[in-house]
């Protein structure tokens, strides 16, 4: 099956579309969109900050549009306060905090809050944890009572701790199946090292936690002097203060120490950790380095920078990696701003076969941000989005509460929030370049890739040194990636000369033809595959010898794209070079070991032709791929027998699903020997190839 079709899909779709279906109509003069109406001055919703005598902060956001009140109680202590052996403490505290107090069981609490139509949740992060309650305003006393009860008098019952523990363990197990989680866990550990932000819970640490430890953590950190209460919605300032004093006035002030943070340095050189996920059809890329912390005045320039680099579909990474190259469904970048050193990161999920190209392009975009000032149009678009979307983030009193609470718990002055728009508007291209040089470190980057190492390792090694690990993070030997052939026997003596002509259709329209010739040459064979697809011509010539020993393979492409590739088997290695169009693999030199049973492109169909096929059989034929430059594990699965009608006739045929090539293919091989292909379909493309004649 010609590989080029799998790589040239977009270009060919356009070429075939234009050729087969006529040119697009001429565009008429475009009308521009209406300009903005005068903007209303943005008035940040009013709020008032006070402090109770015991040190607890209180913020009240009064807004009577909706009969709802949201309560947020935060303490400035999170998982950063917990040593590595006890990782998971804060998450477990958050799960169990609302599951029992001195006077109420978990069931009673949930019946009361849910019974009122409200909600009560606890949550935890690196820097803080908290409890939130939302109630209809005519149930406000209940909201305050339950909030204070779980915050001040939780008991962490053993049975509830066990239930929560099981749930967290199940979630951790589920994460093993999620490449995004695997990537970010590894990434944070590598960027932070022993720093508290790099400590992540594991099944072992979660199993070791006791209810007594949860109680102790709570007692040490839930203190009035360490806490902030935000009340937002349908309540007056006076009533909110009165209820706060009633429920929290007696809370002990305490004296909670902040966690000790150590400096986080970028690594000396860029390195890649490759987490092997066998069979992965995509690779998850995560690239980054230490970033800024709360209070850093560079925050606004960094916001503009990450927005234009990777904030959405209107950003560089998306436009280049997705729109231009078609490598990914989405690519993004961001920087967080915790109390201590945060991270800058860029991420994308890309098709396996373009992993190295996509990573290389991503790195070059990072460099570009540092090396070139951004054009005015991009700068304005990014700023316009940030400033324009600010009101959507403060539409409800609860949203205002979260914004104010977060600003305060990070220890920031309130202007940090109120002046967001003017500060963003003032960011210049020089500012963006300056912060890029400070916070984007492509030459000292931590890169984590989760994908099929068998396919991507070689390409990644050309970008940076690679450390190979398994799904659990344990070091993996490269030999574990070796591709193996199945034990199927192929009867070389049964190979017979043939000329097969095929018709190629695209979206049901005839767009070309393919001729396959198999001719004897001495005691070996030469298989030629000539494909005409619209104006494009691809000729593949493969030579092999007795026992299906590969000899050589050449590829010539001409028409709208041109190029050549050739590879031979010499001294147990596939050696050669390619000068192909970028979409077909680009320019490469090949020199890889040929595993036992590995063949060259085009041989697999001849071998299947003389194999003993039967429904349910799965045959692995490793083969060298000029596009990837590696020996790939290709599997042929006979899923059934169907009668197929093609121009050459009606044939009972084995339906064979092929995986491991650039894209999955389905072939129908004639049931009668030799099992010549009578039809192909490329999964994901409207291309069908059907046998027209046999000689």
């Amino acid at each position: 099956m010609p590989i080029f079709l799998l790589k040239l899909r977009r270009a060919l779709a356009l070429a075939a579309g234009a050729a087969a279906l006529g040119a697009a109509p001429a565009a008429a003069q475009k009308q521009p969109p209406p300009p903005p109406a005068p903007a209303r001055p943005l008035a940040f919703p009013a709020f008032r900050e006070t402090r109770l005598p015991n040190g607890m902060g209180l913020v009240v956001v009064e807004n009577h549009r909706s009969p709802l009140v949201s309560l947020y109680l935060l303490v400035r202590s999170g998982s950063a306060t917990v040593p590595a052996a006890k990782a998971g403490t804060v998450g477990l505290v958050a799960e169990v905090l609302t599951k029992g107090t001195a006077t109420r069981s978990a069931s009673q609490i949930s019946q009361l809050i849910e019974g009122s139509g409200g909600s009560l949740n606890a949550f935890g992060g690196d820097d803080y944890m908290g409890v939130s309650a939302t109630v209809l305003s005519d149930r406000l006393p209940l909201g305050f009572e339950l909030l204070s009860d779980v915050a001040l008098h939780p008991t962490f019952p053993d049975s509830e701790v066990e239930t929560a523990r099981q749930q967290i363990l199940s979630q951790l197990q589920a994460q093993l199946g999620e490449p995004g989680s695997l990537a970010s866990r590894r990434f944070y550990r590598e960027v932070y090292g022993p720093h508290p932000y790099g400590i992540l819970r594991t099944p072992e640490t979660v199993r070791g936690l006791t209810a007594a430890e949860l109680r102790a953590w709570h007692a040490a950190h839930f203190k009035a002097g360490n806490a902030l209460l935000v009340v937002a919605g349908d309540v007056s300032q006076e009533r909110a203060e009165a209820l706060a004093r009633e429920r929290f006035g007696g809370w002990e002030r305490g004296n909670v120490a902040a966690p000790a943070f150590t400096p986080v340095a970028a690594r000396a050189r860029t390195g890649i950790t490759l987490v092997h996920r066998p069979g992965s059809v995509q690779s998850t890329l995560l690239v980054g380095n230490p970033g800024l912390k709360a209070g850093d005045p560079d925050y606004y320039a960094v916001q503009v920078m990450t927005r234009l680099l990777g904030g959405g579909s209107d950003a560089r990474l998306f436009q280049v990696l997705r729109e231009q190259h078609g490598w990914t469904y989405g690519a993004y970048a961001n920087a967080d701003r915790p109390i201590d050193t945060g991270v800058f990161y860029a991420q994308a999920d890309v098709r396996t076969e373009v992993t190295d190209s996509a990573l290389a392009e991503l790195m070059s975009q990072l460099r570009r941000l540092r090396d070139e000032p951004v054009p005015a149009a991009e700068l304005e678009a990014a700023k316009s989005y940030l400033v324009g979307s600010f009101p959507v983030g403060i539409e409800t009193p609860a949203q205002v509460a979260v914004q104010v609470a977060t600003t305060r718990i990070l220890g920031l002055p309130i202007e940090d929030l109120l002046q967001y728009n003017p500060r963003v508007a003032a960011v210049t291209a020089a500012d963006v370049q300056r912060v890029a040089r400070k916070y984007v470190q492509p030459d000292q980057a931590t890169i984590v890739v989760v994908g099929d190492a068998g396919k991507v390792l070689t390409g990644l090694e050309r970008i940076a040194p690679v450390t190979l690990v398994d799904l659990e993070g344990k070091p993996l030997e490269r030999s574990a990636l070796v591709v193996r052939a199945s034990t199927e026997r192929f009867d070389y003596a049964k190979v017979a000369p043939a000329t097969l002509a095929y018709a190629v259709t695209f979206q049901g329209n005839a767009v070309g033809s393919q001729t396959v010739t198999l001719a004897k040459e001495g005691d070996g064979w030469t298989r030629s595959n000539d494909l005409m697809f619209g104006p494009l011509h691809q000729a593949l010539v493969t030579k092999f010898g007795p026992g299906f020993t590969p000899v050589s393979h050449t590829e010539t492409v001409s028409g709208p794209a041109t190029g050549t590739a050739s590879v031979t088997l010499t001294g147990g290695r596939f050696r050669g070079e390619a000068k192909l169009p970028p979409q077909m693999g680009g320019e490469k030199t090949f020199d890889v070991a040929a595993v036992p049973g590995a063949v060259l492109e085009g041989m697999d169909e001849v071998m299947l032709g003389v194999a003993d096929l039967a429904e349910g059989k799965s045959i692995a034929i490793p083969q060298f791929n000029t596009g990837t430059g590696s020996v790939d594990a290709v599997t042929f699965r006979v899923t059934g027998v169907e009668t197929v009608t093609v121009p050459a006739g009606t044939f009972p045929a084995f339906k064979v699903e092929v995986t491991g090539k650039q894209q999955p293919i389905v072939m129908w091989l004639r049931q009668a020997a030799p099992h010549i292909p009578v039809k192909y379909e490329i999964t994901g493309q409207p291309v069908v190839i059907q046998l027209q004649s046999i000689q």
Partner: protein, 458 residues
């Protein structure tokens, strides 16, 4: 003992909840939406619900077309169109819609395809209402359904299908259970296939098919435009007339019938899922259309069964038995026959059979013994709160108006939506439990991590 706890705390609980009467008498004015409802001569229905204090506006267009309007051999069109609608129109280039909206400060925008409707919305700063209206009018009038766009977006849709269904745990089963595994293809083809369509149908479709679909369904007479948030009604009406007034009307589109939706129930399936780490079950019950007089009681019943941690299923399966790690309920209220779905993922070491047995016990208890007055009060409060929460944002109000217009034929239903629920009695809930939550009215899927069992329908 659980029953003792309930009895002992009932009095205290009811005191804190407020007497039973108070909840039923909750002021109807709370959350009342004032709106205007009119039609342009070309049939476009316009709903305006201004909120002067809001700093944003939501522009939300619903086309009354969804997967239920597709015919066999041509599935996936409604969803494909959701993609096509962002590929450009006469005055908007390919991909320019996103750019224009984002650069104007639109952080919340999207289009989604459902069984009964396709929606397109954007939340913008209040001074950019004109942009939202201009964009929606341009693509309603002059969407570029070209061979190139069609072919490109078809590939994107197929890639999306591969990513979502093939890569995410449980999604294949969930998707099937919401359509062809539960609904009868012969009796209700419209609902008995997945919105994303089949690969074969997508491959076989031509751009002429796409244009015909567009001409039938993407017309002002098949659309409702809702504007909410901080805008001036007179100014909005002027802009609506200016941008949408000259779009030509179309013929009334045909509608598929759904005469025998649940003919195949009861039915049981097994799915193998290579991405799933733990077994799960998905149980689906056949419900009436959203406008049915039974729907209020069913919504309340669903809250009692699965609304929150004090619900019947959560208490029993997650807390008491520790059999489930997740319980996710989803009631899909449709214009036609609806479904209630319960997705329950096992804890480590627990089998799908155990989840099924526990589910059946709890459902049977409600059928046989009904619900308590306290549970009913609680459910009413939850519904009331969810309505208040929904109406807090401009987009929430817009979507609520649209749903009322589509499912009940009257946007004014938005201000009556709680009436039936607040008047419901425990007997109502037991009645609908017996009628709809019968095992004979159920589709059940067992999802096994790969290799655990033979797949198929039993």
């Amino acid at each position: 003992m659980r029953s003792t706890i309930i009895r002992g705390s009932a009095a205290a609980a009811l005191a804190l909840l407020g007497a039973a009467g108070a909840a039923a008498q909750a002021p109807a004015a709370a959350g009342r939406v004032q709106f205007e409802d009119y039609k342009l001569p070309n049939g476009l229905r316009v709903l305006l619900a201004p909120d002067p204090a809001s700093p944003v506006v939501a522009v939300d267009v619903w086309y009354a077309v969804g997967s239920r309007d597709e015919r066999p051999g041509r599935t996936g069109f409604a969803h494909l169109f959701e993609h096509l609608m962002f590929q450009g129109s006469a005055n908007v280039g390919k991909g320019e819609h996103f750019q224009l909206v984002e650069r104007a400060g639109g952080a919340n925008y999207n289009g989604t395809t459902a069984t009964d409707r396709t929606n397109y919305y954007q939340v913008l700063p209040a001074n950019r209402l004109n942009l939202g209206l201009w964009l929606e009018a341009d693509r309603m009038r002059s969407l570029a359904v070209t061979p190139e766009n069609f072919a490109n977006q078809r590939e994107v849709v197929k890639e999306e299908k591969r990513q979502r269904v093939d890569n995410a745990a449980y999604f294949g089963a969930l998707r099937a259970m919401l359509n062809d595994s539960t609904y009868s293809p012969r009796g209700c083809f419209g609902y008995a296939h997945s919105t994303i369509g089949s690969m074969d149908d997508l491959n076989a479709a031509t751009v002429e098919d796409a244009r015909a679909f567009h001409d039938l369904f993407y017309r002002p007479n098949n659309a409702t435009l809702t504007i909410t948030g901080g805008f001036d009604p007179a100014e909005a009406k002027r802009m609506v007339q200016e941008y949408f007034g000259s779009i030509p009307t179309g013929a009334a589109p045909p509608r598929n019938s759904c005469t025998e939706p649940f003919a195949r129930l009861p039915v049981r399936y097994t799915f193998n899922d290579a991405n799933a780490q733990l077994p799960a079950i998905v149980a689906v019950y056949g419900l009436p259309p959203a406008a049915s007089p039974d729907m209020a009681a069913l919504e309340l019943l669903n809250v009692v069964l699965s609304g929150g941690e004090s619900s019947r299923l959560y208490e029993r399966l997650v807390k008491r038995e520790r059999a489930a790690s997740q319980l996710i309920p989803f009631v899909d209220e449709r214009q036609g026959p609806s479904v209630a779905l319960y997705w329950i993922v096992a804890n480590q070491g627990v089998s799908a059979d155990r989840l099924q047995a526990l589910l059946e016990e709890e459902i049977a208890r409600v059928r046989d013994q009904g619900v308590t007055a306290e549970e009913l009060e609680k459910a009413k409060n939850q519904l009331r709160a969810s309505v208040v929460l929904e109406r807090q944002t401009a987009l929430g109000v817009a979507e609520a108006l649209q749903t009322a217009a589509l499912n009940h034929g009257d946007p004014g239903f938005i201000n009556r939506s709680l009436d039936a629920a607040l008047a419901a009695t425990p007997a109502d809930l037991q009645r609908v439990a017996r009628q709809y939550y019968a095992t004979t009215n159920r589709a059940l899927a067992v999802v096994q991590p790969a290799g655990a069992a033979a797949p198929g329908r039993e």
